[in-house]
Symmetry: C2
């Protein structure tokens, strides 16, 4: 069953765009990682601090391995000081079916 992760990161005021840029860089790195189907970065209208990442992988294991892709650890290190507190645990879903992946 494919694995979906909804993550939310909250940037310190004024750092939303910088945080989003780092995540866009991360998406390029993991695009060719094993089992990656979706890695999109979003934001909510009228929210100037939160950045959302929605990911779909063949498995949780493939997701976890993506953290070891060359360069990803460095991007996480860049992102950490921009965060307004520790990242919340993402919402994990098992995909039953549907279209687009």
């Amino acid at each position: 069953m494919k694995y979906l992760l909804n993550g939310k990161l909250t940037a310190r005021p004024g750092h939303q765009d910088a945080l989003a840029e780092i995540l866009l860089e991360a998406s390029k790195l993991v695009a060719s990682a094993r089992g990656c189907h979706l890695y999109v970065i979003g934001k909510e209208k009228n929210d100037s601090q939160s950045v959302y990442v929605t990911e779909i992988w063949d498995s949780k294991e493939d997701h976890d391995n993506s953290l070891k892709v060359a360069g990803v650890r460095e991007l996480i290190t860049q992102a950490m000081p921009l965060l307004d507190g520790p990242p919340a645990k993402g919402q994990e879903l098992e995909i039953i079916g549907g279209v687009g992946v």
Copy 2:
């Protein structure tokens, strides 16, 4: 900017699978709708009532129009009595970028 919708529906006890089946039918109907990139149905481990729908469309307008696709209204009508209360408003995101859509 592409439009992402995270929806959550809660089935009455014992009706999660039936609700998911209806949503899987809906995904087939909207698969070829204008602007549809993703429509997946998921559930959380250890949650026997909730069903999640994650959708990505070219625009909110395309999403809204999908409710008019032939057969979709009938599926909504079938789903309503399975729900444990009215559906919560979904979380709407503007996609900044990423991969997979």
